[in-house]
Symmetry: C2
Subunit: 363 residues, 2 copies
DNA sequence: TGTCATATGTTGCTAACAGCAACAAATATC
DNA sequence: GATATTTGTTGCTGTTAGCAACATATGACA
């Protein structure tokens, strides 16, 4: 290593300080001292560094109410580092520009044509981004994502498409790629209220059905989960992917996705045909979940996208068919719930992925 | 932190050096310099520390064959830190005492009664260990292990038993607990030749059927996978666990386990009844694997215990029924094979778990 | 209103660490 | 046997975080 180890240490501490502020919001220097386990004078020096470089701002402290010299409050400067997060869906591209500390500085969205090609989608993203000066960029795509490649996406109808390179061509910059469900899982993990569980499973319902995982407190990067292509009925109908009896076909994912997009949830749930579909789909979901829970043993399952509506409408059904296919010891710890961040989860999580890389690279 | 940060840095480097030697065997100081990215003089100082404390031994260097001063060879002193690893099976407890660097210093085994109680098993372990002076102790149990608790073990017939505390009572010391499959996965990962894949799934066939996972290059600790209780036939026969159609019942796990234990593999495979059972079970395994692969997306699957024999006898069947239930994009990267360490995997991996903790605690 | 207790920021100093450069040692090559 | 080459050793340096003493700013209480 060319860099001296002492400097390395300093960088690590500096990045830890910024990370702490980014994740947990404005704090006093005294609190930072406590949180990082460093000396007051060290925190002072680190804060001076980061203040100099414009990453943080120190304001005169709020009165604590108790005796003693008031602490100076430290907070991130949102404009100091910005990350662009894009979510690609069927029919829609959404952009958020997020600042250091997690504030959303800009939003934009644009429609996408049906059956759009990756390069065209990338062009739309370029238009949305429009030269915004961001330090990192992350794209969330629903499906099986491997590095820059979208290996398979039911929702977009893409298979083995190099969307990462298309984004590079269209925007002139490198994009990190994640799958929508993993992004949402990261979002809930870092900014939602799922902080407690070390093993989190996020299910995302769109035109297809994908899953994202946090394992032992770390987002599982590098390989995503195409849960919609879990085969639940070996003799079932053929799926576009070539297999038979895929979960997303058996559950009627596209119908749900449309229903949630086009009608109000209340009207949709009132429909008697829909009600029966909901029950049947809830059952199907529960059984599929049984396999997934047995195979991955999570602490918490979150239902995102239209799965949220389905779960809310059929929680009892889901639970009982889950119970028929999992050991009680697995269910004991398991919590089922809906995401706290709603539809913003994927964008927030994607941005968070960018910030993690950014802050890590400061070391 | 009470400790100065500079000392912390030293400890980290010292532990990294020892870790490097433990994992990759004897190396010259020049190689260590390269591997750790530290300066020659730093390596010298660290080696002096560890030599002083007795953890390593420096011998006069082997002649490299090329010009230059010969390098001094550094190696772990096996006796300097020892870990006891125990594997509990139906009918048998096996012990290895492993030294720093991975050398097996002692072996012992003892029969266990059928339907043994945890406390009795712990007593047998105490007898096997017999006051050996080990720095850490790890027990591998087949089933769902959560901290000191065996939540469910088909093989031992235990449910929610506090085996960890029983071991503490019987041996007077703390035991780390892992499930057999995760231990074996760690073994293959660290000492087998699975070093390449970041996501590894190890299937262990005993009286029951469990799985262990390496995710993104890290063993997934804290929660194991009772794969035998994946429900593959909702209308199937009732299992001892209370569910219906569990994989291990449908596959006839106990019959396989017995067959492998009692007859030679060749004779067993020659049997025409067995041959049909093998085909059917291979098919069943393949379909179950489809669900697991879809839900976890591994790079590599290893078949341990009697699954090794089953896989070798029916690889084509397993592959084809796997193909019917997984996306081609998932299969593209996937490798199926048998473990390099054979039956030693669980013990080696369990010991490795202990060493990781031990070396980590030096920091 | 003033004094004291309390909590926090600041400053100068210290111990320890890793890196560096110069030197010493030990081998291969010619 | 002379030289090139690689590696270990030694003394020195720059940087770091911790510490202690001091300065600063508030609340509590008389």
């Amino acid at each position: 290593m060319a860099r001296p180890a002492t400097e390395e240490l300093r960088r690590r501490n500096r990045s830890a300080l910024l990370d702490q502020l980014h994740r947990h919001g404005p704090q006093t220097r005294a609190e930072l001292t406590e949180a990082l386990g460093l000396n007051r004078s060290t925190i002072g020096a680190l804060a001076a560094d980061l203040s100099q470089s414009g990453h943080i701002r120190e304001t005169t402290g709020r009165s604590t109410g108790s005796a003693g010299r008031p602490s100076t409050l430290v907070e991130c400067v949102a404009e100091a580092a910005q990350v662009a997060a894009v979510e690609i869906r069927s029919g829609l591209a959404r952009l958020s520009v997020v600042g250091l500390g997690g504030a959303v500085l800009e939003r934009a969205e644009a429609p996408l044509e049906a059956d759009i090609e990756p390069l065209e989608a990338a062009a739309t993203v370029a238009h949305l981004l429009d030269g915004a000066g961001v330090a990192d960029a992350v794209a969330a795509v629903p499906g099986l994502v491997e590095g820059p490649i979208v290996a398979y996406s039911s929702e977009l109808g893409w298979a083995d498409r190099d969307f990462g390179t298309d984004l590079l061509k269209a925007t002139g910059r490198h994009w990190r790629m994640v799958d929508t469900a993993t992004a949402a899982a990261v979002g809930e993990w870092s900014r939602g209220d799922a902080g407690g569980s070390a093993n989190l499973l996020y299910l995302h319902g769109g035109r297809g059905l994908t899953a994202g995982v946090i394992v032992d407190g770390r987002p599982r990067c590098g390989s995503s989960i195409a849960l919609g292509h879990l085969v639940v009925a070996p003799e079932g109908a053929e799926c576009r992917c070539g297999l038979r009896g895929c979960l997303e076909v058996e559950m009627g994912a596209s119908r749900f996705a449309e229903a949630v997009e086009t009608t109000t949830v209340a009207a949709w749930m009132g429909d008697s045909v829909a009600r029966q579909t909901v029950r049947r789909s809830g059952e199907c979901l529960g059984r599929a979940l049984g396999a997934v829970v047995t195979a991955t043993n999570p602490d918490e399952i979150l239902f995102g996208g239209w799965l949220r509506e389905l779960y809310l409408a059929s929680a009892a059904t889901v639970r009982s068919s889950l119970a028929a296919t999992t050991l009680p010891q697995l269910r004991a710890r398991l919590r089922l719930r809906t995401p706290a961040l709603g539809a913003e989860g994927p964008l927030i999580g994607a941005a968070e992925t960018g910030f993690e890389a950014l802050i890590d690279d400061m070391r």
